[in-house]
């Protein structure tokens, strides 16, 4: 070890470090490591004091004076603020009885967007069916078999009510009626696309929508 023979401090005498002009502490020498007699840096000390004051104000403000809301109240405030904004949003015109598949590009694009976010998880990227049924064939589980009818209205009811025993949840709180109409219109366009890995038909065959 080369460091053991380093310059030893004459114990007890104040000695000045040449490079910094700081005073050495007498008797503080450990395996050649010496210590300087510098005070705590003032800015450091003030920083410490400020954080202590911050802590006191924080505890008083949240727990004694109750100047600021704790997390449950904060959450309620957030919901209330959102409710105000949502009320301002215009209510879209929607009439169930006269609902028909949409054909406008913009509606179908919006429908595809919803499909890619939500439906894809169970019905596959191209509507080929995974856990949920295939959308590309003419077989439907929830058609109106008494009247031999499958239309966007029957599909709409499935989305609104869900088929929870099969794992299809209700989307009535997640999607607006128009959004549902859009996504169903998109799904209807998948008819006859024959995607790869299509799931076997389920339900009964209907010849036409309407």
């Amino acid at each position: 070890m080369s460091n053991t023979d380093e310059n030893k401090l004459p114990h007890g005498e104040p000695e000045i470090d040449e490079l910094t002009n700081d005073r050495y502490l007498g008797g503080h020498e450990y395996d050649g490591i010496r210590e300087l007699d510098n005070k705590l840096p003032a800015w450091w000390l003030y920083l410490f004091y400020i954080t202590i004051i911050f802590a006191l104000v924080y505890l008083v403000g949240y727990h004694l004076a109750e100047w600021w809301p704790l997390q449950d109240d904060e959450y309620n405030n957030e919901l209330a603020a959102a409710a105000v904004v949502e009320k301002k949003a215009p209510v879209e015109a929607f009439d169930f009885e006269s609902m028909a598949p949409m054909v406008a590009e913009a509606d179908l694009a919006a429908g595809k967007e919803t499909y890619d976010k939500i439906c894809v998880t169970c019905h596959g990227k191209a509507g080929e069916g995974l856990v949920g049924p295939n959308f590309t064939d003419m077989y439907w589980i929830h058609g109106d078999s008494t009247n031999n009818k499958i239309s966007i209205k029957e599909m709409y009811n499935v989305v609104i009510n869900g088929v929870i025993e099969k794992g299809m949840i209700s989307y009535k709180d997640q999607l607006s009626p128009v959004q549902i109409q859009q996504v169903l219109s998109f799904i209807i366009t998948l008819q006859g696309t024959n995607p790869p890995n299509a799931k076997a038909p389920q339900g009964r065959k209907y010849d036409t929508f309407g």
Binding site: D31, I33, L36, F54, Q71, A82, I118, V120, L130
Partner: protein, 715 residues
Amino acid sequence: MELQKFYYDNKIVKMFAYATLFWGIVGMLVGVLVAIQLVYPSFNFNFAFTTFGRVRPVHTNAIIFAFVGNGIFTGYYYSIQRLLKTSMASKWMTYTHFWGWQSIIVLAAVTLLAGYTTGKEYAELEWPIDILIAIIWVIFGWNMMWTMLKRRVKHIYVAIWFYIATFVTVAVLHIGNSIEIPWSFLKSYPVYAGVQDALVQWWYGHNAVAFFLTTPYLGLMYYFMPKAANRPVYSYKLSIVHFWALIFLYIWAGPHHLLYQSVPNWAQSLGTVFSIMLIAPSWGGMINGLLTLRGAWDKVREDPVLKFFVVAVTAYGMSTFEGPMLSLKNINAISHFTNWTVGHVHIGALGWNGFLTFGMVYWLFPRMFSTKLYSVKLANLHFWMGTLAMLFYSIPLYWAGWTEASMFKQFNDAGELVYPNFLQVVEQIMPMYMMRIFGGTLYFLGAILMVYNIAKTVKAGSFVAMEAAEAPALVKEGSMKEGEGFHRFLERKPIRFMILAIIAILIGGLVEVVPTYLIKSNIPTISSVKPYTPLELQGRDIYIKEGCYNCHSQMIRPFRSETERYGEYSKAGEYVYDHPFQWGSKRTGPDLWREGVKTSRNYKPDAWHYNHFMDPQKMNATSIMPKYSWLADYEIDINSTPAKIRVMQTLGVPYPEGYDKIANDDLKAQAEKIAAGLKEQGINVESNKQVIALIAYIQRLGTDITNSTETADNK
């Protein structure tokens, strides 16, 4: 005075140093693997032992306890002998410490990969290893205190104060957090549940960072920085103030890992304010390190050792400022559960721990082998590779964290989430995950360069196993002398010093954890919350075994963006039977707490879960979840059910008397029902397979409060 002759044992230093290098390389390589797995799920190899949920704990444990742990002991054994002018008090304790620690590491790696885990982050090791750790740790500490009593130096130096604080606090944390009741040779349940388990775990987890990654490394810094620069320590007074402030304040800050979660508000606030108060004490260490270099900055330009030290201490200063900022509620609301936290901890791990270790290794080897470093040029190259690697690692993750938070929280005018599908966010941050692989690989290659450089140095040098030294015996001095400050007095009374340190570190933990037992209002009871069925309990143990908590949280915070996405926010009373809690700390995948609630946005049928476990990419092409196809092959270990039920009963879970004997009947009935349901969907899987239990558990998650009419109050 007569000089006594003695020897410094360099062999133990060399052994720990080799172990540091070896485990460092292993830990970093595993780190690169888990980084790759997050981009390319095929690198999970569809094999239980190599799946992310099991490998990620191997990475964290290897870096913390194997790489940094051996790094601590390398520098500790070198410095303490010289600072006390004596050899270690006990040779067998010294070497038992070494071999004990290495065997703990090997046992840890094997058991973690085999799926034996407690499910508590950074404390994953199971009870037999916990006991071994406690024994080895006490041997290490006993030997240290005994060596102090045999010292030839009157006062103990600041580095040793930090070693003492490390020894006592890690012992308290490890034992406190590991109190568990075994139900088999390698498995146990912790005595704490839910909120209490969370508070104890993060009291431990946070202070493992404080007293394993920070205080011992400050000790190393106080020795190696002045040594390498050949300059005096800037301020002794600052050492005293920042040391005591640091160890006293640190222990309180644990709850900042649980902000906006189901722990009492007062505990969260203590976590926040103590984190803020930690800025100055932490920076005290940085200042004392950097200002020690005054008058030696010209050396920093030339000496790679000092370069590594300067960046290490700067990274320490950055992390210890960022940490308190992340403890502020409004920032934590954004950062928590995202990659921001991962970036933050890697500034500490790569910068502070990694670089300080590298600098120390480059300084130690030439001295122990009485030669020059083989190549200063290569060491400089390593320095620049490491520095760049840190930037390539952390900047993408900070970016990813911000991206995640802003996408998760974005609403449109109609009040709907703009990105309701979790995968939309995952797809967005893929490029950042890729850049992280590059950063991590660069850091790893730098470390390889170091190993080469050290190997060449070792080859060129000749090792001095026993280094001769001499010093006069210490004259015993009794009580405090006139004019002697109290602290100066304490510095020659190591046992008293240790007792004061214990007192300082116990206060915070006691104040934060004990009231949750004594004051009932801290965890309001919800009467509809019931114990798990035996099948769900078995499923829960599979969830823990596969390390699902590494990527999925079970904690919905009270934010509109989370309740809209996941459902009703979590209540403290919902977790009272969760031994251990599984709240998680990072959402690589979505939260699962309301996964079983049929009216929730995230509900999926059993068939979906089955198919998803078998092949997540079939369900979602861009998913990064590993396949868990073996869950359909392996059987549920129903022989363990009675023992599990009995341990749960001991822990206060209200299963009826004698339920352990009939629990498997209920288990089978529930399993058959699930299997029959799957069969209807065209899935043939026997009811005794693990996947059935896991599905049962997932479908139970978060459902209990929806069965109740009472409104749970979380105040």
